[in-house]
């Protein structure tokens, strides 16, 4: 694992996290305005674009590393997404959700260390 590969993993992860937040925002806007409003279309387009970036970077990485080693890095997104959902989307968290997200993340880190 060199620094360049690590950087690609980080970029892939970040674009995935931001994409999820954009998509959630997009789907929330459909409740009030339906699917034919410019806000929904631009948010979904941005979300899809970021997920595509993340997808191709992952595909390139898969050619070099085991799937069971690489895949868990995406799992770090759990803690990021849960945190960002609270911070940006104002979703209410409880202790259980935080503990669950933390355990999933620790588990995933263990998997990638081994």
């Amino acid at each position: 694992m060199n620094l360049f590969a690590f950087l690609l993993i980080v970029v892939s992860l970040l674009s995935f996290v931001v994409a999820q937040l954009l998509l959630k925002k997009a789907m929330e806007s459909t409740a009030a305005y339906g699917m034919r409003n410019p806000r929904f279309i631009s948010l979904v387009a941005a979300g899809v674009a970021l997920m595509t970036v993340s997808f191709f970077l992952t595909l390139g990485l898969l050619q070099r590393f085991d799937l069971s080693y690489l895949y868990p890095f995406q799992g770090l997104s759990v803690i990021f997404i849960t945190g960002m959902a609270a911070a940006v989307l104002k979703e209410r968290l409880n202790l259980r959700l935080i503990a669950g997200a933390a355990l999933i993340t620790i588990g995933i880190v263990l998997v990638s260390m081994s």
Binding site: D66, V78, I81, T82, S114
Partner: protein, 134 residues
């Protein structure tokens, strides 16, 4: 969540469908990507040469399907609940790699997978109770 649709439109069913599609697509991607791997070429860091494999195209189809289900899920379920639950794939994928791709999983890696199981169960239990009351 009170007026959510039932049957095929049930967001929890769609969440499960989305997870299964992601799981199968990951295995297909790994198979497809290694089939056509060309680590010598600089272009291969972009992953674009993976498109030469038909398996990768099947995987893309499944990803699109999972994406549509996922968008539907986001309409009804908070991201901080739906996303951790969707990480059931982090259990399914390594177990699938072990069973189907013949990858070796160390004891420490199994411990990590077990923690993910507990974490997902923690997030899922209040949801199950909430559903019973509805």
């Amino acid at each position: 969540m009170q007026n959510r649709p039932r049957g095929f439109g049930n967001p929890w069913l769609q969440l499960a469908l989305s997870v299964v599609c992601v799981f199968v697509s990951e295995l297909l991607l790994k198979r497809g990507a290694t089939d056509v791997a060309d680590p010598q070429s600089a272009l291969s860091w972009t992953g674009i040469n993976g498109l030469a494999s038909p398996l990768v195209w099947w995987a893309i189809l499944l990803i699109v399907a999972s994406f549509i289900s996922w968008l539907y899920v986001l309409r009804y379920i908070p991201l901080s609940v739906a996303f951790p639950l969707s990480r059931v794939v982090d259990i399914l994928v390594p177990v699938g790699c072990w069973l189907l791709l013949g990858e070796w999983i160390s004891p420490l890696r199994w411990c990590g997978i077990a923690l993910v199981v507990i974490g997902v169960a923690l997030v899922a239990r209040p949801v199950a109770q909430m559903e019973e009351r509805l």
